[in-house]
Amino acid sequence: MTIRRCKGTVLKKGVAEVLAAVSQVIGIDLPNEEAETFEADTLDNADPGIPYQSTGRVEGGSLGFELFLDPFSHTALTGIFDAPTTETNWEVDFIGGGTITMDCAGFSLGGTVALKDGLKGKATAKLTKTATWTAGGS
């Protein structure tokens, strides 16, 4: 078991059927996957605790990331809106090994222009189904 450093982590996006690294990424929010539950309480339940049961479904969550945005170079991101119905493919390669791959159905991209900062963009991609974690490295 190792505490992994984040510096050197690479975010990749599917471009023309191969995975290409996204440049100038500052931070990544990994998808917050959740095994869905429903409240299974009944009137005759004497226990004060509220019981929950699993539905057997998993909410995949969303992949989020922030980057220094370059509209000339980040065409693979801005171009998503030219074909918004196309599924996008993403991968995060952790430093020292291990990956997480995701297919996404939705995408949002915004930016911030501020005097005292570089041009920054914030993006979110909605997972279709669930992410796939692959172990590897030290």
Binding site: R5, C6, G96
Partner: protein, 121 residues
């Protein structure tokens, strides 16, 4: 629209194909020009070259940028990477020294706080 890969790249996982696309693989795709613009590939037909719209100098810069992107070089460390002071990161997050890395400075000998025996004589 076709491009030719200049470096090995992982395929997007599909039921019929996964693994690595080797150097020289020709990709026929409407977004092939983006791989050229990103420095991963060269144009393999006139249509791709026209849309990518790259000069030899912008191609060189894109390929240099591509190398740093693939290695996950942080924007703050790019100058050090270009200068050959580092080549990437170890799993502990520290930079891997490059050919031009400055040698580690030896620690100075600890100061002695003991006075010589002859002191005060």
């Amino acid at each position: 629209m076709k491009c030719r890969l200049l470096r090995a790249m992982p395929w997007v996982r599909r039921a019929h194909r996964q693994g690595i696309a080797p150097v020289g693989t020709t990709i026929d795709h409407p977004d092939a020009w983006q791989l050229v613009r990103l420095g991963y590939a060269e144009s393999a037909d006139d249509e791709c070259a026209q849309v990518a719209n790259m000069t030899p100098e912008t191609m060189r810069l894109a390929q240099e940028e591509c190398e740093m992107r693939e290695r996950g070089i942080h924007p703050d460390d790019r100058e050090n990477y270009r200068d050959g002071k580092m080549t990437g990161y170890n799993p502990d997050g520290n930079p891997i020294p490059g050919p031009n890395a400055e040698p580690e400075q030896e620690e100075d000998e600890p100061l002695s706080f003991y006075l010589p025996e002859t002191y005060g004589e």
